[in-house]
Symmetry: C2
Subunit: 332 residues, 2 copies
DNA sequence: CAGCAACGCTAAAACATTTTAGCCGATCAT
DNA sequence: ATGATCGGCTAAAATGTTTTAGCGTTGCTG
């Protein structure tokens, strides 16, 4: 059982005070008139002994934990996995570490995770807000923990956010469908109060209006979309539809699963387009045309904004909507 | 800027000592002969003021951070995402939080992440070890931070591990192929010094020997498997092969992508079977038969073992190999 | 009646840091 | 000669907990 090396160990070895060691190791020896000779000795001793600062003690003393909390719906969902990956990278580069939790879209669990993170003294929070979480988030904000919404935002909370421009993306999908000459679109989406669906729905409906294309909107329920979707596709009247637009990767994945399982010539003739770009889209036969979210930029910006407001204490309330891009493949 | 409520705030409000408040709040008032009346007062005050313990201070004082570190190859890979998800859940249930990092299979990055986590005073570590990491892990072990390998293990490190029984899984795949009457298998795997590949390779080769089936082993290089795989499938002599076995999800995914892109009748006739069970396998046409790893059990056990050895300080060095199961679908 | 346990609490140390005030001698300007 | 400044360091407070030693009073036992 090796004890960790502390400042005290170094100080004793050199017969100096702990304070001095601390100052040197944090690079503040110049402004504190400590001799270069001494600085060198201290640094050497620290290296020799293998000193690693105790982050807990630092956190306690400074009030800064250098930890940021990340709350997503489900880290097992590759969409969030990818985001988490980028966030982790950015954060590490800036000397922060990431502690994560999944909410499962459940308010109760979301609140628990927030509490746990608050207790951990996270310096800031990156959250994918769940329905009804505005109060918790407002509270967190007031206890002065900078918080940024990602992926979606709540209209009833005054949180800064960094999200994809869902309206524009969905609108552009409509334009693309027009350009390709489709006339009757089955628009499969969810009836959700979350910003991303609201905007995707608005955007697409507006572009349908502007282009004059026929479409049928199927807004599935948040709780039971899964079964409803299977039913919907099973019963689809393929004579009245020439393209399907899935407004989300989960819808598309489940949809493709059903389509492929049914193996019907009529269904196979339909064009397919989707929001999001899961890996499956490149493997499916045909490969699927989609609107890819700018995950890299989104996650980077979110971390940057968060760390900015952590370190400068000026919550500038800058919110961002970032454009993604259409990826054209075989299906449409 | 609301300050956090501390023990001191409660103590002052009630005109008692901090120690007493601490004792009560941690449920130790009985064994410390504190009156029930007082205990109630304290609890009420704590609730009223909204007291949340400062985990940093607790950690500093007790030497237990209640944080476990999780290092995977890439959290964006759904395989690890799923594991992370289960680990997170288990850990939260036991009062631990999870801090994560991705190694990218890069030793240097792995070491950095380990250092960062050690500095954070993690109580224990769950790692997917990368090639060459035995020294770092040995060192970590010696500084008395319980560590468990998951997914794979290093033969040259004496770490406990919790992994799938890769040998058995791969052997069973061979048996299944025999049962289905396949005669010429293309066995696509990687030439890796990591335990999972070593055992999958051994297991399959043994079962080929035992069953007497013809097979060709294609062990791709760890660094360039991607391109090699595309080439391999492109050049495959379909007259001499009736089934392909992919020894890993990444191989299968890339393989299916290539197969589907080539759209060749001969390739389509081949049976396909794979280790792992990514979501795509259920969507692909045909759906893919595979050996599914017991992720739930694996991750749960790993967390349990880890927390055991954190809390009891007896590193029992129990290592586990857990069986997965064959999932039979259309492709084979 | 001496000794002792029980009671209900307090005080203080300890954890590893960071940061500020200040000490002492020497140099410098006035 | 006086006062100020500076160089190089130390001492100590502070962060929010947990834990142990112990204090003064009662009541009981032998």
């Amino acid at each position: 059982m090796k004890k960790n090396v502390t400042l005290n160990d170094i100080a004793q070895k050199l017969n100096v005070s702990v304070g001095l060691v601390s100052l040197v190791l944090r690079g503040k020896w110049k402004e504190n008139r400590i001799s270069e000779e001494m600085a060198k000795k201290v640094n050497k001793a620290a290296k020799d002994l293998g000193y690693k600062p105790n982050a807990m003690a630092q956190a306690l003393r400074t009030g800064k934990s250098k930890i940021i909390g990340l709350i997503v719906a489900d880290i097992a969902n590759p969409f969030y996995g990818k985001i988490a990956r980028i966030i982790e990278n950015e954060a590490y580069n800036k000397g922060y570490q990431v502690i994560f939790g999944s909410s499962d879209e459940d308010l109760c669990k979301f609140e628990k995770v927030v509490e746990a993170m608050k207790s951990r003294q996270v310096d800031g929070l990156l959250v994918v807000p769940v329905i009804g979480s505005h109060e918790v988030l407002q509270a967190i904000q007031e206890s002065n923990i900078p918080t940024i919404s990602i992926d979606r935002y709540l209209t009833d909370a005054k949180l800064p956010y960094v999200v994809t421009d869902n309206y524009k993306g969905s609108y552009d999908i409509g334009l693309y469908l027009q350009q390709k000459g489709y006339q009757n679109i089955a628009f499969i989406t969810k009836e959700s109060p979350l910003s991303n669906f609201i905007e995707r729905n608005k955007g697409f409906e507006q572009s349908m209006k502007d282009t004059g294309i026929n479409y049928q909107k199927h807004a599935l329920s948040v709780d039971n979309w899964n079964e409803e979707l299977v039913q919907l596709i099973r019963d689809m009247d393929t004579s009245k539809v020439d393209a399907i637009y899935f407004a989300q990767n989960m819808l598309a994945v489940e949809g493709l699963k059903t389509v492929n399982a049914l193996h019907s010539d009529e269904l196979d003739k339909l064009a397919i387009i989707s929001f999001d770009n899961p890996e499956i889209f490149e493997i499916n036969r045909p490969t699927i045309t989609c609107y890819q979210q700018p995950l890299q930029v989104l996650a980077e910006k979110a971390v940057q904004e968060l760390i900015n407001s952590i370190e400068s204490k000026q919550s500038k309330d800058i919110s961002l909507k970032i454009e993604g891009k259409l990826i054209i493949r075989q299906s449409c």
